[in-house]
Symmetry: C2
Subunit: 205 residues, 2 copies
Protein backbone atom coordinates (compact mmCIF):
# COMPACT_ATOMS: atom_id res chain seq x y z
CA UNK A 1 0.00 0.00 0.00
CA UNK A 2 2.99 2.29 -0.43
CA UNK A 3 2.73 5.54 -2.34
CA UNK A 4 4.72 4.13 -5.22
CA UNK A 5 2.16 1.46 -5.75
CA UNK A 6 -0.68 3.94 -5.83
CA UNK A 7 0.83 5.79 -8.73
CA UNK A 8 2.00 3.06 -11.01
CA UNK A 9 2.25 5.22 -14.10
CA UNK A 10 4.56 7.82 -12.66
CA UNK A 11 7.84 6.02 -13.07
CA UNK A 12 9.23 3.66 -15.60
CA UNK A 13 11.26 0.59 -14.63
CA UNK A 14 10.72 -1.34 -11.41
CA UNK A 15 8.20 0.03 -8.99
CA UNK A 16 9.13 -1.19 -5.51
CA UNK A 17 5.64 -0.68 -4.11
CA UNK A 18 3.80 -2.56 -6.82
CA UNK A 19 4.00 -6.00 -5.27
CA UNK A 20 2.73 -4.66 -1.95
CA UNK A 21 -0.16 -2.89 -3.61
CA UNK A 22 -1.10 -5.97 -5.58
CA UNK A 23 -0.96 -8.01 -2.41
CA UNK A 24 -3.08 -5.49 -0.54
CA UNK A 25 -5.69 -5.55 -3.30
CA UNK A 26 -5.69 -9.35 -3.44
CA UNK A 27 -6.04 -9.61 0.34
CA UNK A 28 -8.93 -7.15 0.35
CA UNK A 29 -10.59 -8.94 -2.58
CA UNK A 30 -10.18 -12.36 -0.98
CA UNK A 31 -11.83 -11.17 2.21
CA UNK A 32 -14.68 -9.45 0.36
CA UNK A 33 -15.37 -12.35 -2.02
CA UNK A 34 -15.34 -14.85 0.81
CA UNK A 35 -17.64 -12.75 2.97
CA UNK A 36 -20.05 -11.25 0.46
CA UNK A 37 -19.74 -13.52 -2.55
CA UNK A 38 -18.92 -12.56 -6.11
CA UNK A 39 -22.06 -10.64 -7.06
CA UNK A 40 -22.16 -8.44 -3.97
CA UNK A 41 -18.48 -7.54 -4.09
CA UNK A 42 -17.62 -4.37 -5.99
CA UNK A 43 -14.27 -3.23 -7.30
CA UNK A 44 -14.97 0.00 -5.43
CA UNK A 45 -15.33 -1.78 -2.08
CA UNK A 46 -12.17 -3.80 -2.66
CA UNK A 47 -10.27 -0.64 -3.55
CA UNK A 48 -11.54 1.10 -0.42
CA UNK A 49 -10.48 -1.82 1.78
CA UNK A 50 -7.04 -1.83 0.17
CA UNK A 51 -6.70 1.93 0.43
CA UNK A 52 -6.22 2.46 -3.32
CA UNK A 53 -8.13 4.05 -6.16
CA UNK A 54 -10.60 1.76 -7.99
CA UNK A 55 -8.86 2.58 -11.27
CA UNK A 56 -5.74 0.96 -9.89
CA UNK A 57 -7.62 -2.29 -9.23
CA UNK A 58 -8.77 -2.32 -12.85
CA UNK A 59 -5.28 -1.38 -13.97
CA UNK A 60 -3.70 -4.33 -12.19
CA UNK A 61 -6.39 -6.97 -12.50
CA UNK A 62 -8.87 -6.03 -15.22
CA UNK A 63 -12.49 -7.06 -14.68
CA UNK A 64 -14.04 -8.26 -11.44
CA UNK A 65 -14.03 -11.79 -12.82
CA UNK A 66 -10.33 -11.53 -13.57
CA UNK A 67 -9.75 -10.18 -10.07
CA UNK A 68 -11.60 -13.19 -8.69
CA UNK A 69 -9.52 -15.53 -10.85
CA UNK A 70 -6.40 -13.89 -9.42
CA UNK A 71 -7.70 -14.31 -5.86
CA UNK A 72 -8.28 -18.03 -6.28
CA UNK A 73 -5.08 -18.27 -8.35
CA UNK A 74 -7.03 -19.75 -11.22
CA UNK A 75 -4.32 -21.06 -13.52
CA UNK A 76 -6.22 -20.82 -16.80
CA UNK A 77 -8.35 -18.23 -18.52
CA UNK A 78 -11.88 -19.09 -17.35
CA UNK A 79 -13.29 -16.91 -20.09
CA UNK A 80 -12.04 -19.26 -22.84
CA UNK A 81 -13.81 -22.23 -21.27
CA UNK A 82 -16.95 -20.28 -20.44
CA UNK A 83 -17.32 -18.92 -23.96
CA UNK A 84 -16.91 -22.39 -25.51
CA UNK A 85 -19.70 -23.60 -23.26
CA UNK A 86 -21.77 -20.51 -24.06
CA UNK A 87 -21.49 -21.25 -27.78
CA UNK A 88 -22.83 -24.81 -27.45
CA UNK A 89 -26.48 -25.66 -28.23
CA UNK A 90 -28.52 -26.37 -25.09
CA UNK A 91 -28.92 -30.04 -25.98
CA UNK A 92 -25.13 -30.41 -26.25
CA UNK A 93 -24.27 -28.61 -23.00
CA UNK A 94 -23.55 -31.85 -21.14
CA UNK A 95 -20.89 -33.21 -23.44
CA UNK A 96 -19.51 -29.73 -24.15
CA UNK A 97 -19.04 -28.94 -20.46
CA UNK A 98 -17.33 -32.25 -19.74
CA UNK A 99 -15.11 -32.04 -22.82
CA UNK A 100 -13.95 -28.45 -22.35
CA UNK A 101 -13.57 -28.53 -18.57
CA UNK A 102 -11.77 -31.88 -18.40
CA UNK A 103 -9.50 -30.73 -21.25
CA UNK A 104 -8.37 -27.85 -19.03
CA UNK A 105 -7.71 -30.26 -16.16
CA UNK A 106 -5.68 -32.49 -18.49
CA UNK A 107 -3.73 -29.50 -19.88
CA UNK A 108 -0.55 -27.98 -18.42
CA UNK A 109 -2.89 -25.75 -16.38
CA UNK A 110 -4.31 -28.88 -14.71
CA UNK A 111 -2.03 -29.05 -11.65
CA UNK A 112 -2.89 -25.45 -10.89
CA UNK A 113 -6.60 -26.20 -11.07
CA UNK A 114 -6.14 -29.16 -8.75
CA UNK A 115 -4.14 -27.09 -6.27
CA UNK A 116 -6.82 -24.42 -6.37
CA UNK A 117 -9.60 -26.95 -5.81
CA UNK A 118 -7.80 -28.65 -2.95
CA UNK A 119 -7.11 -25.40 -1.16
CA UNK A 120 -10.70 -24.29 -1.73
CA UNK A 121 -12.07 -27.54 -0.26
CA UNK A 122 -9.61 -27.61 2.62
CA UNK A 123 -9.80 -23.87 3.16
CA UNK A 124 -12.61 -21.41 2.84
CA UNK A 125 -15.83 -23.02 1.58
CA UNK A 126 -17.30 -19.59 0.83
CA UNK A 127 -14.76 -18.96 -1.92
CA UNK A 128 -15.37 -22.39 -3.45
CA UNK A 129 -19.11 -21.84 -3.34
CA UNK A 130 -19.08 -18.37 -4.86
CA UNK A 131 -16.62 -19.51 -7.53
CA UNK A 132 -18.80 -22.44 -8.56
CA UNK A 133 -22.18 -20.75 -8.25
CA UNK A 134 -21.66 -17.16 -9.27
CA UNK A 135 -18.72 -17.34 -11.67
CA UNK A 136 -18.85 -20.74 -13.35
CA UNK A 137 -22.40 -22.02 -13.15
CA UNK A 138 -24.47 -18.85 -13.37
CA UNK A 139 -23.98 -18.43 -17.10
CA UNK A 140 -25.15 -21.98 -17.70
CA UNK A 141 -28.10 -21.55 -15.36
CA UNK A 142 -29.49 -18.56 -17.20
CA UNK A 143 -29.56 -20.65 -20.38
CA UNK A 144 -31.61 -23.50 -18.94
CA UNK A 145 -33.85 -21.57 -16.52
CA UNK A 146 -37.58 -21.60 -17.29
CA UNK A 147 -40.64 -19.95 -15.77
CA UNK A 148 -41.28 -23.10 -13.72
CA UNK A 149 -37.70 -23.99 -12.81
CA UNK A 150 -35.02 -21.43 -12.01
CA UNK A 151 -32.34 -24.06 -12.63
CA UNK A 152 -30.53 -23.52 -9.34
CA UNK A 153 -30.86 -27.16 -8.26
CA UNK A 154 -29.80 -28.29 -11.73
CA UNK A 155 -26.56 -26.34 -11.83
CA UNK A 156 -25.77 -27.33 -8.24
CA UNK A 157 -26.04 -30.97 -9.33
CA UNK A 158 -23.72 -30.17 -12.24
CA UNK A 159 -21.26 -28.57 -9.83
CA UNK A 160 -21.40 -31.64 -7.59
CA UNK A 161 -20.72 -34.04 -10.47
CA UNK A 162 -17.88 -31.96 -11.89
CA UNK A 163 -16.29 -31.44 -8.47
CA UNK A 164 -16.36 -35.17 -7.87
CA UNK A 165 -14.95 -35.89 -11.32
CA UNK A 166 -12.09 -33.47 -10.63
CA UNK A 167 -11.33 -35.14 -7.31
CA UNK A 168 -11.52 -38.66 -8.69
CA UNK A 169 -9.54 -38.00 -11.88
CA UNK A 170 -7.02 -35.47 -10.62
CA UNK A 171 -6.78 -35.35 -6.83
CA UNK A 172 -6.95 -38.96 -5.66
CA UNK A 173 -6.30 -40.56 -9.10
CA UNK A 174 -9.09 -43.09 -8.93
CA UNK A 175 -8.29 -45.59 -11.69
CA UNK A 176 -9.33 -46.32 -14.35
CA UNK A 177 -11.07 -42.93 -14.32
CA UNK A 178 -7.80 -41.06 -13.80
CA UNK A 179 -6.31 -42.29 -17.09
CA UNK A 180 -9.55 -42.76 -19.04
CA UNK A 181 -9.34 -41.10 -22.50
CA UNK A 182 -11.23 -37.83 -22.68
CA UNK A 183 -13.71 -39.19 -25.24
CA UNK A 184 -14.70 -41.96 -22.83
CA UNK A 185 -15.11 -39.52 -19.95
CA UNK A 186 -17.36 -37.41 -22.17
CA UNK A 187 -19.39 -40.49 -23.14
CA UNK A 188 -19.77 -41.56 -19.51
CA UNK A 189 -20.33 -38.24 -17.72
CA UNK A 190 -21.73 -36.01 -20.50
CA UNK A 191 -25.22 -37.59 -20.32
CA UNK A 192 -25.24 -37.09 -16.55
CA UNK A 193 -24.58 -33.37 -16.94
CA UNK A 194 -27.13 -33.11 -19.75
CA UNK A 195 -29.81 -34.80 -17.65
CA UNK A 196 -29.08 -32.58 -14.67
CA UNK A 197 -29.42 -29.51 -16.89
CA UNK A 198 -32.38 -30.38 -19.12
CA UNK A 199 -33.69 -33.84 -18.21
CA UNK A 200 -36.11 -35.29 -15.69
CA UNK A 201 -34.50 -34.99 -12.26
CA UNK A 202 -37.61 -35.83 -10.24
CA UNK A 203 -39.48 -33.70 -7.77
CA UNK A 204 -37.22 -30.68 -8.15
CA UNK A 205 -37.79 -30.29 -11.88
Amino acid sequence: MGGDGREPGRRSGRRPGKADTRTAILDAARARFAEAGFDKTSIRSVAADAGVDPALVHHYFGTKQQLFAAVVEFPADPEATLSTVAAAPVDELGETIVRTVVAVWDSPAGPGVVAMARSMIAGDPNLARTFLLEVVLERVRTRIATAEDDGHARVALVGAQMAGLLIARKVISLEPLASMPLAEVVAAVGPTIQRYLTGDIGATA
Copy 2:
Protein backbone atom coordinates in the same frame (compact mmCIF):
# COMPACT_ATOMS: atom_id res chain seq x y z
CA MET B 1 4.32 -49.24 23.07
CA GLY B 2 4.90 -49.75 26.75
CA GLY B 3 4.78 -53.18 28.36
CA ASP B 4 1.43 -52.44 29.97
CA GLY B 5 -0.16 -51.86 26.62
CA ARG B 6 1.10 -55.14 25.26
CA GLU B 7 -0.65 -57.05 27.97
CA PRO B 8 -4.04 -55.41 28.16
CA GLY B 9 -5.76 -58.31 29.93
CA ARG B 10 -3.43 -58.49 32.86
CA ARG B 11 -4.80 -55.69 34.94
CA SER B 12 -8.24 -54.34 35.55
CA GLY B 13 -8.93 -50.64 35.68
CA ARG B 14 -6.95 -48.04 33.76
CA ARG B 15 -4.01 -49.29 31.80
CA PRO B 16 -1.52 -46.45 31.38
CA GLY B 17 0.16 -48.01 28.33
CA LYS B 18 -3.00 -48.72 26.40
CA ALA B 19 -3.33 -45.34 24.70
CA ASP B 20 0.28 -45.49 23.54
CA THR B 21 -0.14 -48.98 22.15
CA ARG B 22 -3.32 -48.02 20.33
CA THR B 23 -1.56 -44.99 18.88
CA ALA B 24 1.42 -47.09 17.80
CA ILE B 25 -0.89 -49.56 16.06
CA LEU B 26 -2.86 -46.78 14.38
CA ASP B 27 0.33 -45.05 13.20
CA ALA B 28 1.67 -48.30 11.78
CA ALA B 29 -1.66 -49.10 10.13
CA ARG B 30 -1.98 -45.62 8.64
CA ALA B 31 1.48 -45.89 7.07
CA ARG B 32 0.85 -49.40 5.74
CA PHE B 33 -2.61 -48.64 4.34
CA ALA B 34 -1.36 -45.47 2.66
CA GLU B 35 1.66 -47.22 1.16
CA ALA B 36 0.31 -50.63 0.23
CA GLY B 37 -3.45 -50.13 0.09
CA PHE B 38 -6.12 -52.05 1.96
CA ASP B 39 -5.84 -55.45 0.28
CA LYS B 40 -2.08 -55.77 0.57
CA THR B 41 -1.92 -54.67 4.19
CA SER B 42 -2.05 -57.48 6.73
CA ILE B 43 -2.79 -57.29 10.43
CA ARG B 44 0.46 -59.21 10.91
CA SER B 45 2.53 -56.53 9.12
CA VAL B 46 0.86 -53.74 11.07
CA ALA B 47 1.53 -55.60 14.33
CA ALA B 48 5.19 -56.11 13.38
CA ASP B 49 5.61 -52.41 12.55
CA ALA B 50 4.01 -51.44 15.85
CA GLY B 51 6.07 -53.97 17.78
CA VAL B 52 3.06 -55.82 19.18
CA ASP B 53 1.45 -59.22 18.83
CA PRO B 54 -1.13 -59.54 16.02
CA ALA B 55 -3.66 -60.77 18.55
CA LEU B 56 -3.43 -57.41 20.26
CA VAL B 57 -4.34 -55.60 17.04
CA HIS B 58 -7.44 -57.78 16.75
CA HIS B 59 -8.15 -57.29 20.43
CA TYR B 60 -8.13 -53.50 20.13
CA PHE B 61 -9.55 -52.98 16.67
CA GLY B 62 -11.33 -56.13 15.47
CA THR B 63 -11.20 -56.86 11.77
CA LYS B 64 -8.88 -55.28 9.22
CA GLN B 65 -11.82 -53.25 7.94
CA GLN B 66 -12.52 -51.98 11.45
CA LEU B 67 -8.84 -51.12 11.84
CA PHE B 68 -9.03 -49.16 8.60
CA ALA B 69 -12.16 -47.36 9.80
CA ALA B 70 -10.27 -46.41 12.96
CA VAL B 71 -7.30 -45.12 10.93
CA VAL B 72 -9.47 -42.82 8.84
CA GLU B 73 -11.52 -42.00 11.95
CA PHE B 74 -14.65 -43.13 10.17
CA PRO B 75 -17.39 -41.85 12.42
CA ALA B 76 -20.06 -44.41 11.54
CA ASP B 77 -20.19 -48.16 11.18
CA PRO B 78 -19.44 -48.70 7.48
CA GLU B 79 -20.71 -52.28 7.79
CA ALA B 80 -24.29 -51.10 8.39
CA THR B 81 -24.29 -49.02 5.21
CA LEU B 82 -22.49 -51.64 3.16
CA SER B 83 -24.87 -54.42 4.16
CA THR B 84 -27.93 -52.31 3.30
CA VAL B 85 -26.44 -51.76 -0.14
CA ALA B 86 -25.53 -55.43 -0.40
CA ALA B 87 -29.15 -56.41 0.26
CA ALA B 88 -30.55 -54.23 -2.54
CA PRO B 89 -31.48 -55.73 -5.94
CA VAL B 90 -28.99 -54.81 -8.67
CA ASP B 91 -31.54 -52.64 -10.46
CA GLU B 92 -32.11 -50.63 -7.28
CA LEU B 93 -28.46 -50.11 -6.38
CA GLY B 94 -28.44 -46.50 -7.57
CA GLU B 95 -31.21 -45.20 -5.40
CA THR B 96 -30.21 -47.45 -2.50
CA ILE B 97 -26.63 -46.19 -2.50
CA VAL B 98 -27.71 -42.54 -2.62
CA ARG B 99 -30.38 -42.99 0.04
CA THR B 100 -28.28 -44.91 2.56
CA VAL B 101 -25.04 -42.97 2.08
CA VAL B 102 -26.61 -39.51 2.12
CA ALA B 103 -28.64 -40.54 5.18
CA VAL B 104 -25.34 -41.15 7.00
CA TRP B 105 -24.05 -37.73 5.92
CA ASP B 106 -27.25 -36.13 7.17
CA SER B 107 -27.10 -38.03 10.47
CA PRO B 108 -25.24 -36.98 13.63
CA ALA B 109 -22.26 -38.88 12.16
CA GLY B 110 -22.25 -36.49 9.20
CA PRO B 111 -19.79 -33.88 10.49
CA GLY B 112 -17.32 -36.66 11.19
CA VAL B 113 -17.68 -37.99 7.66
CA VAL B 114 -17.13 -34.52 6.26
CA ALA B 115 -14.06 -33.97 8.43
CA MET B 116 -12.69 -37.33 7.29
CA ALA B 117 -13.34 -36.54 3.63
CA ARG B 118 -11.74 -33.11 3.85
CA SER B 119 -8.63 -34.41 5.54
CA MET B 120 -8.41 -37.25 3.02
CA ILE B 121 -8.65 -34.83 0.09
CA ALA B 122 -6.28 -32.31 1.62
CA GLY B 123 -4.00 -34.96 3.00
CA ASP B 124 -2.93 -38.33 1.71
CA PRO B 125 -4.67 -39.25 -1.55
CA ASN B 126 -3.58 -42.87 -1.17
CA LEU B 127 -5.77 -43.32 1.89
CA ALA B 128 -8.75 -41.74 0.14
CA ARG B 129 -8.23 -43.92 -2.90
CA THR B 130 -7.89 -47.17 -0.99
CA PHE B 131 -10.87 -46.33 1.17
CA LEU B 132 -13.09 -45.66 -1.83
CA LEU B 133 -11.84 -48.43 -4.10
CA GLU B 134 -11.01 -51.31 -1.82
CA VAL B 135 -13.31 -50.82 1.13
CA VAL B 136 -16.43 -49.08 -0.14
CA LEU B 137 -16.73 -49.76 -3.86
CA GLU B 138 -15.27 -53.24 -4.21
CA ARG B 139 -18.34 -54.97 -2.82
CA VAL B 140 -20.55 -53.16 -5.29
CA ARG B 141 -18.17 -53.86 -8.17
CA THR B 142 -18.26 -57.63 -7.66
CA ARG B 143 -22.03 -57.52 -8.00
CA ILE B 144 -22.06 -55.73 -11.36
CA ALA B 145 -18.93 -57.20 -12.95
CA THR B 146 -19.46 -59.36 -16.04
CA ALA B 147 -17.18 -61.40 -18.30
CA GLU B 148 -16.91 -58.42 -20.67
CA ASP B 149 -16.72 -55.58 -18.14
CA ASP B 150 -14.88 -55.84 -14.85
CA GLY B 151 -16.81 -52.85 -13.52
CA HIS B 152 -13.77 -50.89 -12.36
CA ALA B 153 -14.59 -47.85 -14.50
CA ARG B 154 -18.23 -48.02 -13.38
CA VAL B 155 -17.50 -47.96 -9.65
CA ALA B 156 -14.89 -45.24 -10.14
CA LEU B 157 -17.61 -43.12 -11.77
CA VAL B 158 -19.85 -43.87 -8.79
CA GLY B 159 -17.08 -42.80 -6.44
CA ALA B 160 -16.62 -39.57 -8.38
CA GLN B 161 -20.34 -38.71 -8.26
CA MET B 162 -20.70 -39.52 -4.58
CA ALA B 163 -17.52 -37.62 -3.65
CA GLY B 164 -18.81 -34.58 -5.50
CA LEU B 165 -22.22 -34.89 -3.88
CA LEU B 166 -20.58 -35.00 -0.46
CA ILE B 167 -18.54 -31.90 -1.22
CA ALA B 168 -21.46 -29.96 -2.68
CA ARG B 169 -23.99 -30.92 0.01
CA LYS B 170 -21.77 -31.03 3.07
CA VAL B 171 -18.43 -29.31 2.56
CA ILE B 172 -19.16 -26.16 0.57
CA SER B 173 -22.97 -26.17 1.12
CA LEU B 174 -23.93 -25.58 -2.48
CA GLU B 175 -27.58 -24.53 -2.32
CA PRO B 176 -30.22 -25.68 -3.04
CA LEU B 177 -28.45 -29.05 -3.04
CA ALA B 178 -27.24 -28.62 0.53
CA SER B 179 -30.77 -28.45 1.94
CA MET B 180 -32.57 -30.55 -0.67
CA PRO B 181 -34.79 -33.21 0.96
CA LEU B 182 -33.25 -36.68 0.81
CA ALA B 183 -36.04 -38.01 -1.44
CA GLU B 184 -35.24 -35.36 -4.04
CA VAL B 185 -31.52 -36.09 -3.88
CA VAL B 186 -32.33 -39.76 -4.45
CA ALA B 187 -34.59 -38.87 -7.41
CA ALA B 188 -31.94 -36.65 -8.94
CA VAL B 189 -28.74 -38.62 -8.33
CA GLY B 190 -29.99 -42.21 -7.97
CA PRO B 191 -30.45 -42.66 -11.76
CA THR B 192 -26.91 -41.35 -12.34
CA ILE B 193 -25.47 -43.99 -10.02
CA GLN B 194 -27.68 -46.69 -11.55
CA ARG B 195 -26.56 -45.79 -15.07
CA TYR B 196 -22.91 -45.76 -14.06
CA LEU B 197 -23.33 -49.23 -12.55
CA THR B 198 -25.57 -51.02 -15.04
CA GLY B 199 -26.41 -48.65 -17.93
CA ASP B 200 -24.80 -47.62 -21.19
CA ILE B 201 -21.74 -45.53 -20.36
CA GLY B 202 -20.26 -45.51 -23.85
CA ALA B 203 -16.97 -46.94 -25.01
CA THR B 204 -15.95 -48.19 -21.60
CA ALA B 205 -18.95 -50.45 -21.19
